[in-house]
């Protein structure tokens, strides 16, 4: 700015001066003076020129252009060309903006997906016309000649949005076009829409043309749905079925169908259309929640004239059309701001979100306690479905039900519970939906309440025969209100499902065991034979010692007895016994291994309690016993005690326990070796009572 002022002042001064000197020169006509004034004017002009160049240069440096790779979002990158300014460390878009992204996927990179943005920023805000385009084509492998170009035609879709922003807010006419492209040319229009936006909201009329449906709606100046919304369906036979939804400044006041000139009113339960005193009303944006409300609150279609409701609108068919309308309305209203569920204009900064229309709905009071119960019921439904789905997806169950009747029976029970839990759960889910705060739940519930009737028994087919078996399905009273009913019913179903799951688990486990029984029994026999062979020393093992010998007869007898007692049992009992018998005989094998270590341990203790001293009178090294009384107690009292106890108390339960006594004794002797045992040795003097010895040594053995 300073430079501009300087340049202008220079220019003004220069002009004035030139004029003055010119007139003066004309008067004076003097050579040197003329020369001097020419020089001054020249200098002034140069200064002006230099200043002008400086200004333009500084302007050029303030606004920059970027062209190159650009990461638009965390998962969208491409090439961008845009003008920007640097303010401190921030980049402010200012000027034209264009972004192109193209991604090739597919086995041979034949699928091309592209997204483009074009528009203008003004000081960081979207301003003027903006377009968004999404293309997804699968290109053909073989190129074709088109005009003078050799191209590979593509088939796919193209989605286009265009609109205007004013200072970051959508304002002006907006268009949406979704097309199918076939071999490089537009083939079908999937959606063609136009609307007028004002200050970020819809205003005035909105049109949308889908292949199956046409929509014509309106908004008031505040963006509220207003006036009659006409949705034209085309039936299979080409007849037009028109649906009318009438709004008054956001309030939904009427809903009807028109077919062949006849009107059929759609009744909604729990929906208030007139605003009275002491009622709470809210303005809410249009959302999928609202459309759910329209759908679920629909209860009936009635005819105003004395004609029957046509077949096309009977039963749930009207609701089907309503659902179709809802879907298309959602698509239409969100198509200006979203593409495939993702916000289009949010990817770039500099604009406010586009509103999707506003509604005015009454808020109904609902007891918090009931709401809590419904939420719990919803969770119970979710958990029940988890159990049910896991059950049906379990391949083992799928296979087992053809082999085992029990599984088949529960299969039918589960199917029943699947149906009833869905009936109850969907209602609970619906009633806990946010949208339902705008309807009278009590009224709605009366229309959608599930009627569950359980049979006394279930019927199922198993191996080409039909069976009937009783099952105690629940009976829940409806006297405490719908929330309590739904909650209590689903609670009982959930508990039953858990019990069934447990029982099936056990049943399958038992069946599994039965099939494995043959293998387990084979293992039992092998182990029994191993025990006998080891304790008879048939393998002539080097580690077979006196301790094995000592217990050989008892252990062999024990194992034989256990085996015989098992073999004489019935199949059902065998299933429950096999694990215990295997455990017992395995213990006998473990005992054998533990006994191989006993001589080594005894030798270790002997060595540990032996000290070698140099004798001055024999002049040799002599071994002497350390802590002699302790060692004597160990050798003459405790070892025989432990071995006798082992020998006299052989059973499946005590085998390993008695062996561990030996280990405990060994450990105790190891520990005592390092201690000062003067007191202990004093107490052990002449002591032979085993229990007293154990007490002195603080040894806790498991003895009988």
């Amino acid at each position: 700015m300073g430079l501009v002022f300087l340049a202008l002042s220079q220019s003004a001064a220069s002009t004035w001066y030139l004029r003055q000197t010119d007139s003066y020169m004309q008067r004076k006509k003097s050579g040197p003076i003329k020369l001097f004034s020419s020089a001054v004017s020249g200098i002034l002009s140069c200064t002006f020129l230099i200043a002008l160049i400086s200004i333009s240069t500084s302007l050029t440096f303030a606004q920059r252009v970027y062209e190159g790779p650009h990461q638009l979002t965390s998962n969208l990158s491409g090439t961008a060309i845009f003008q920007f300014e640097k303010v401190g460390n921030d980049t402010i878009y200012n000027g034209e903006f264009s972004f192109f992204s193209a991604e090739r996927t597919g086995e041979n990179d034949e699928i091309l997906t592209g997204r483009n943005y074009f528009g203008i920023f003004k000081q960081g805000k979207k301003d003027g016309n903006w377009t968004y385009e999404f293309k997804r084509f699968e290109t053909e492998a073989t190129p074709v000649l088109r005009g003078y170009d050799i191209v590979k035609p593509g088939t796919g879709e193209d989605r286009f949005i265009s609109g205007t922003f004013r200072d970051g807010i959508a304002h002006g006419p907006w268009k949406v076009l979704h097309q199918k492209i076939s071999r490089g040319e537009a083939s079908d229009s999937l959606l063609s829409a136009r609307a007028q936006l004002s200050n970020g909201q819809f205003s005035g009329r909105i049109y949308g043309v889908f292949p199956e449906v046409k929509v014509n709606g309106a908004f008031d100046v505040n963006g509220m749905l207003h006036d009659t919304w006409k949705i034209q369906h085309v039936l299979d036979d080409g007849i037009k079925l028109e649906e009318f939804r009438v709004y008054q400044n956001g309030k939904f006041i009427k809903h009807y169908f028109e077919l062949l000139g006849q009107q059929f009113e759609v009744l909604h339960s729990g929906f208030d259309t007139t605003e009275d005193e002491n009622e709470v009303w809210e303005d809410i944006p249009v959302s999928p929640t609202y459309f759910n409300l329209i759908y679920h609150s629909t209860t009936d279609v009635v005819s105003s004239a004395a004609i029957a409701v046509p077949e096309e609108l009977e039963g749930d068919k009207a609701k089907d059309f309503i659902s179709i309308t809802n879907d298309y309305l959602k698509s239409l209203l969100f198509s200006f701001s979203q593409d495939n569920g993702t916000g289009v204009w949010d990817e770039l900064p500099g604009s406010e979100p586009i509103a999707t229309g506003m509604l005015r709905l009454r808020v109904y009071d609902y007891p918090e306690e009931d709401l809590k119960k419904l939420r719990k019921a919803r969770d119970l439904y979710k958990n029940s479905q988890k159990i049910i789905q896991a059950f049906f997806k379990d391949t083992q169950i799928d296979i087992s039900r053809h082999s085992y009747e029990e599984i088949n029976y529960f299969y039918k029970v589960m199917a029943q519970y699947d149906y009833s839990s869905r009936q109850l759960g969907e209602v609970a889910k619906m009633l806990t939906h946010d949208a339902f705060k705008y309807v009278d739940r009590e009224v709605v519930y009366e229309k959608i309440a599930p009627e569950i009737e359980y049979p006394d028994s279930v019927q199922y087919e198993f191996k080409d025969e039909v069976y009937t078996r009783h099952f105690d399905f629940p009976e829940i009273a409806k006297i405490n209100g719908h929330a309590a009913y739904l909650h209590d019913h689903l609670s009982v179903i959930h508990m039953d499902l858990i019990q069934i799951e447990e029982q099936i688990g056990k049943t399958l486990e038992q069946y599994k065991k039965q099939s494995q029984l043959a293998e387990l029994e084979k293992s039992l026999v092998e182990k029994r034979d191993s025990v006998a062979a080891l304790y008879k020393n048939q393998f002539n093992r080097a580690d077979f010692n006196e301790y094995h010998q000592r217990l050989s007869t008892q252990i062999i007898e024990l194992v034989e007895h256990e085996f015989r007692s098992y073999a004489n049992e019935k199949l059902e009992v065998k299933l429950s016994l096999i694990d215990a018998k295997l455990e017992c005989i395995s213990s006998a094998l473990k005992v054998y291994e533990m006994q191989t270590k006993i001589p080594t341990r005894i030798d270790q203790i002997d060595e540990l309690y032996t000290r070698t001293v140099w004798s001055p009178y024999t002049m040799t090294y002599m071994d002497e016993r350390l802590k002699e009384r302790v060692y004597r107690a160990y050798e003459t009292v405790l070892i025989p005690l432990v071995l006798d106890d082992m020998e006299n108390n052989i059973s499946c339960e005590t085998l390993l326990v008695k062996q561990k006594n030996m280990v405990k004794l060994y450990q105790k002797m190891l520990n005592i070796r390092e201690q000062d045992t003067r007191d202990i040795e004093r107490e052990l003097r002449r002591e032979t009572n085993p229990h007293r010895v154990m007490e002195i040594l603080e040894l806790n053995l498991d003895l009988n």
Partner: protein
């Protein structure tokens, strides 16, 4: 055997030969005279108290009686010995000992007023022990070479007898062999079939009697444990009389010995030793 013991033995034998050569030059009768063999009883306690890993305190006590007036073995009191010293065990094959002795000598003729009832005989002694081991078949044995040198001041029990100073040069070879087991260990009977000692003496008073004693002492013993052992044996001793080298006295000495070797170290210092040889 290591170098030092060999040198010591060589020096010792050189001395002995020298003494023999010297004694051959003296004027003696043509035939030796052997006195009647006396009978003595020696009761000895040999105590070696371990003070540390290498250091021992030796405390030996003898109670000696002699035949007298027709009573063999225990006719009269002969001597009471108190030998003390400190022994340092350089290794399993060499030990050095140094200490004093106080011997109490009782009158050889009790009741004879020409003799004092007791005289004292102090000594200083040092000893060099060289134990070795080996095997005889399956049995291990121990062979010991012992050189003991004593410096003694003694006087006869006769009234107004003069003090004489002598040096004693002793060499003993001993062999211990287990009988009831294959190694010398607790609860084992053992024998000492070879126990021969030669005691030479020197000094101004030693003119023609250099050989004080030649002792042959076989014995048997029993090892109770690493700290206690006993032995019994009969020793034959032959020696020259001082001042009359042609006269040889003979003695049969019954010896009963107790060997006691406690370990006085603290409990935590009694680290098991490593055997170098067995």
């Amino acid at each position: 055997m290591t170098r030092y013991p060999k040198i010591a033995l060589l020096l010792f034998f050189t001395f002995c030969v020298n003494q023999l050569v010297y004694s051959q030059e003296s004027d003696l009768p043509l035939e030796a005279e052997y006195g009647d063999a006396g009978t003595l009883l020696w009761l000895g306690s040999y105590n070696t108290l371990r003070l540390s890993d290498k250091l021992y305190w030796v405390a030996q006590h003898h109670f000696r009686t002699s035949n007298y007036d027709g009573t063999p073995w225990v006719g009269r009191m002969a001597q009471i010995y108190n030998r003390h010293a400190l022994t340092y065990r350089f290794s399993d094959r060499f030990l050095f000992t140094l200490g004093p002795v106080l011997r109490i000598n009782f009158t050889p003729e009790p009741g004879n007023e020409d003799f004092q009832s007791v005289t004292l005989e102090p000594r200083i002694w040092h000893e060099y022990m060289f134990p070795m081991s080996g095997y005889l078949g399956a049995r291990s044995f121990v062979l010991q070479h012992r050189i003991r040198i004593e410096h003694r001041w003694s006087r006869s029990n006769r009234i107004d007898a003069d003090w004489i100073y002598r040096d004693r040069w002793r060499y003993r070879i001993t062999m211990k062999l287990p009988i009831s087991r294959t190694t010398l260990q607790p609860k084992t009977f053992y024998a000492t079939p070879l126990n021969v000692e030669i005691i030479m003496q020197s000094g101004k008073s030693v003119v023609n009697a250099p050989m004080e004693d030649l002792r042959i002492y076989p014995s048997v013993g029993y090892i109770f444990n690493t700290k206690l052992s006993v032995s019994v044996g009969l020793m034959y001793a032959l020696g020259q009389n001082l001042g009359a080298g042609h006269q040889y006295r003979q003695r049969y000495v019954a010896r009963i010995n107790l060997w006691w070797t406690p370990d006085l170290r603290k409990f935590e210092n009694r680290i098991p030793e490593t055997k170098f040889f067995d």
